[in-house]
Symmetry: C2
Subunit: 234 residues, 2 copies
């Protein structure tokens, strides 16, 4: 079904790209998963050529790691990369907020409100909940009409999903919905500084609240790998 619907836009490699991206963001493919060109192509009904193209795109977006002669895997950002990524996100979303403050049209406000409502409604489903939370930010970015800003925010939000999938705690994104509402309120009221501060807090709370703990075996490996890398080991 995906093949029939997705094709229309143009180039089928785009369709493959979207399919894989969606699969990754939905955590159907979890970080570190192998992405063999063959199987994917067979499953999606296209040749390796197109899969390859899609993988290159995804690697350029930072969603997959592409190691020479070793194939593609879903990206597995380190915790350090994660924190840096949120720093970058903050810088860009600050611009988003500054650009939008006091300039939202009625239509845009409606769209955002509806989206927040949808977020509220899907609190239970962990997967879609994360996706909707991210889409709020991309929606905001979209409204700036700044192409590069949009692109980068999209990328960073997507990769944030990966980070949260790896290091996030189960119920980390719950409070986010109310914060989204507050941000929207300030944007509508034109309280720029307040909105920026809220957005900063919003993103910061994700990093500190959701990203820090989780003393599982996964973390042990990460810590070790960091030390190993520092010593030039495998």
């Amino acid at each position: 079904m995906a093949s029939k619907v997705g094709d229309s836009g143009r180039g089928r490699s785009q369709a493959v790209h979207r399919a894989l991206k969606r699969a990754i963001l939905d955590q159907a493919l979890s970080p570190g998963a192998k992405l063999p060109e063959d199987s994917i192509g067979e499953r999606l009904g296209v040749s390796r050529t197109l899969v390859r193209e899609a993988l290159v795109r995804l690697s350029e977006e930072g969603l997959v790691d592409l190691r020479p002669n070793k194939g593609a895997t879903v990206a597995r950002p380190t915790l350090e990369e994660g924190r840096n990524l949120f720093l970058t996100r903050m810088a860009l979303e600050r611009l988003v907020v500054e650009t939008l403050s006091g300039k939202l049209t009625r239509e845009q406000i409606d769209v955002l409100s509806a989206h927040i409502a949808a977020e509220e409604a899907s609190k239970q489903e962990h997967a879609t909940s994360i996706r909707l939370a991210g889409e709020f930010h991309t929606l905001l970015a979209q409204m700036t009409n700044n192409a590069s800003l949009i692109r980068y925010v999209n990328e960073l939000v997507a990769r944030s999903s990966l980070i949260l999938a790896l290091y996030g705690r189960p119920h980390s994104s719950e409070c986010a919905v109310s914060e989204h509402q507050e941000i929207l309120d300030d944007l509508v009221a034109g309280k720029t500084d307040q909105a920026v501060k809220l957005m900063a807090h919003h993103l910061d709370s994700i990093t500190t609240r959701a990203l820090l703990p989780k003393e599982e075996d996964r973390n042990i490996k990460d810590v070790l790998s960091a030390y190993a890398a520092a010593e030039g080991l495998a």
Copy 2:
């Protein structure tokens, strides 16, 4: 020397990518130029497959436009995109400056000083002058050790070259060198706010000083094409 270092590592598609990127940034290939897979492959001694991969990467970086069934061309950003791009750049470079302020090592300071000296020395050669001016910013970004930040600044700086190539006046980047020195001084002194302000001014002056006027035939065409697009014409 850059070519020797970059190539050998692995994949030849990477080499093609670098070659094309370099050619574009040096304005050997000017914005809007056609990039036929065949000719490029023949000229570089590789097959279309590899050229294709490089073009996909470049399009993902925003350096080439890749239209379905119509082939690749060197990107031709509009003036509007240009201004937005510099807005985004500002947001990111602000983070760069904030991250680096007061934390530069002696080595890093030396590298930057040397670079500024090189900029000073090559004032005459328009092409390299622009390149070095850009590299100052990428150098700064590099020192943050923030992967995503580095990547985006690199991209934006590269695309800025395109913008300046299209809309910049001949001697627009002259004063920049002294401003670079000032920024470095403030970074070393740890005057964060001052450094941010300077960087803001630095980038802003590029947009207002270099990007605005230029009433040449090129602009006429651009204006017309904008109206044509609005009317659905060629």
